[in-house]
Chain length 355, copies 2
């Protein structure tokens, strides 16, 4: 059974409990984005064969996988490694350069150039790194302990702090692709870090939106968030919710309780706490949604940022199970159709029984 | 061989001819969107099995497919049909209601309501229709003649004109999903029309962007576009290009030569001319990219629109072959990574030999 089928089944279960399945259009205040909630969509038929999760090629990964222990020579240069406590020559995670980088660390940063017809371009300066989360091919993120997951998060932090020293890096995006339909090209557990010379459009839009709220209310939108029936789980320092206008079915946000603009303010205690909550949520989506492909993304604030902006920007981590395929409507309009109401998805995820 | 593999092969061929494959960041003036062009990305390996195009379930579609001739009773109500010239009882295309609509035509239009925490919602009022492009299950859009394709385009026009009579419809999105990885759930050739009570975010952004250009130059951005080495093919009334900052590899825009804000200004002659160009381009991508899944979308202007805006909005049709899978970076940043430079993609598409 593929992810899409699992999602449809989950949606059908959920929507059965929904008394008035009329569509609704919601705008979330963090992204200024309209999302259409349409329970009727979840029952539509398909005559394409159900897309099974593509499985990795079973072959000799120990020989070929560049991310496996012993294959370090197949990789682009290492940036740093984290050792297991007892063996200072081994590694339990590595941060390396991406061998096929989207941006180049060797280019001079050029100013924006006007090309013909008012089109603008600039040189592709930036950094593109890979975080290998385990030396063992078969270990996935969900298999790590809260402390080990904390180590992964602290490796992101350390690398972000290094990147902050480059004056021309404006924004750092940490993200993970798990499974082929979430975009992954390699199955060995890893995530990526891209440092950009511009603030990307979605981050600017988010910051503008939070600024607007702050100007109206004097408060940070994410500090004020009412979890209520959107709550999934809480930990000492974080809450997890399905956002009010979730773009994707079963989308999850993990939000620090205390106001914090930059992910790299995370301290060791909070990293382990976040590791525990992340593990719990990954277990829940795996169990409830049949081990779906997923992405997670850390939404932080730009570097070299106007200090007055720090009062209204608040980082969070977004998890998106990939259960549906985007179509022409979403590409054209930027408006998504979600067949599952957030409060229904939150209820399902809140109540998952972990054995 | 799957679409992704075909894209990689095409990219490798193309990039071989590229002397300096250094990455570049471009911003297009119509969407105000950064895109990273990174030829190095096209050679990265994958250990997932190549995703083959899911084929439709071969079974008895004549019995089950709601869009086949003779199965009209399986469909939601018809809005109108187009007859073949010689047989007034048959149909060659039908516009019907979507049986699983994203929006409901029966809801009262409510004003925006503030929910808790500054979140906004409104009732899901709108229209969601399906255009069945042929009565025959095996006929795809590319198989139609220019005149028949013109009929499909004129059916969009007629339906848009009907929808314009509703004061609460603000924007109409016409789109097509072909193939499962382009989002299609049914394989019988069809497209869709969604009428929205709001102007969607991507359309607002586009219009703002074109307005800004107009305020600076007094000209319409799309009237001014320099096709140059981005040109693919031209017809009497249209040009087709790969846009300067194409979001997706081999993305195509078909742009009317004469200034026109709304798609539904299309007359019969231009519809046939556009049908011919669309057919040519669909044949080219099918041949060059191994019959890939694709979407096309018509970008028009809102209804009930400030007349002064008409001087800078210019409709166009966008075709997107689905060759890559979006990952966490794109979801988070709204910034896309395209491994193929637009001028290289344009050259390939310009030079495709049609037998
Ligand atoms: N020997 C080696 N040493 C170092 N690095 C190596 C390596 N061999 C491979 N790599 C790199 O490892 C990375 C693996 O990343 P993922 O599997 O998360 O997805 P990928 O970046 O390929 O593309 C997905 O994510 C991006 C960003 O979201 C999308 O643009 C894209 O469409 C989607 O498929 C690749 O970026 C690759 O370049
Ligand atoms: N008997 C019947 N009578 C009338 N209509 C019928 C019908 N049986 C099915 N339909 C409708 O026919 C349509 C077929 O459309 P497509 O195959 O283009 O993709 P779909 O809309 O399912 O979803 C894709 O496109 C949308 C919009 O882009 C994305 O939200 C989604 O994720 C993606 O899979 C469906 O919308 C379905 O509701």
């Amino acid at each position: 059974e593929g992810g899409a089928a699992a999602a449809a089944a989950a949606a059908a279960r959920v929507n059965n409990n929904h008394n008035q399945p009329v569509p609704e259009i919601r705008k979330d205040a963090v992204h200024n984005r309209w999302v259409i909630f349409s329970p009727a969509r979840s029952t539509r038929p398909s005559d394409f064969k159900s897309k099974s999760n593509p499985t990795p090629q079973s072959s000799d990964h120990l020989l070929n996988c560049p991310f496996c222990l012993g294959n370090e020579h197949l990789c682009a240069p290492e940036i740093f490694r984290v050792h297991p406590p007892d063996s200072p020559t081994d590694w339990k995670l590595r941060v390396i350069q991406n061998l096929y980088p989207a941006l180049s660390r060797d280019l001079p940063l050029q100013d924006h150039q006007e090309a013909s017809s008012g089109n603008t371009k600039l040189g592709g300066f930036g950094f593109h790194d890979v975080v290998i989360e385990s030396p063992v091919h078969s270990v996935q993120l969900v298999d790590l302990s809260p402390v080990q997951l904390g180590d992964v998060l602290l490796a992101y932090k350390k690398r972000i702090q290094q990147l902050q020293s480059y004056a021309s890096v404006r924004y750092v995006q940490v993200f993970k692709n798990h499974g082929a339909s979430a975009g992954a090209s390699l199955s060995h557990s890893h995530s990526q870090i891209i440092a950009l010379p511009v603030v990307p459009p979605a981050a600017s839009a988010r910051i503008d939106c939070m600024k607007q709220y702050f100007e109206q209310t004097g408060k940070c939108k994410l500090c004020e968030i009412q979890a209520d029936n959107l709550l999934i789980n809480e930990s000492a320092h974080f809450i997890s919710i399905v956002p009010f206008a979730a773009t994707f079915p079963f989308e999850i946000w993990i939000i620090p309780r205390d106001h914090s603009s930059h992910f790299h303010e995370l301290d060791n205690d909070k990293a382990i706490d976040l590791g525990g909550l992340l593990k719990l949520l990954l277990r829940k989506i795996s169990l409830q949604l049949n081990n779906p492909p997923f992405n997670f993304m850390i939404h932080t604030s730009p570097f070299h940022f106007n200090p007055s902006s720090l009062s209204y920007t608040h980082w969070f981590l977004q998890i998106v199970p990939q259960l549906t395929t985007v179509g022409g409507f979403e590409i054209a309009t930027g408006c998504y159709i979600n067949p599952i109401f957030p409060e229904d998805a939150a209820k399902v995820l809140r109540e998952v029984q972990l054995s």
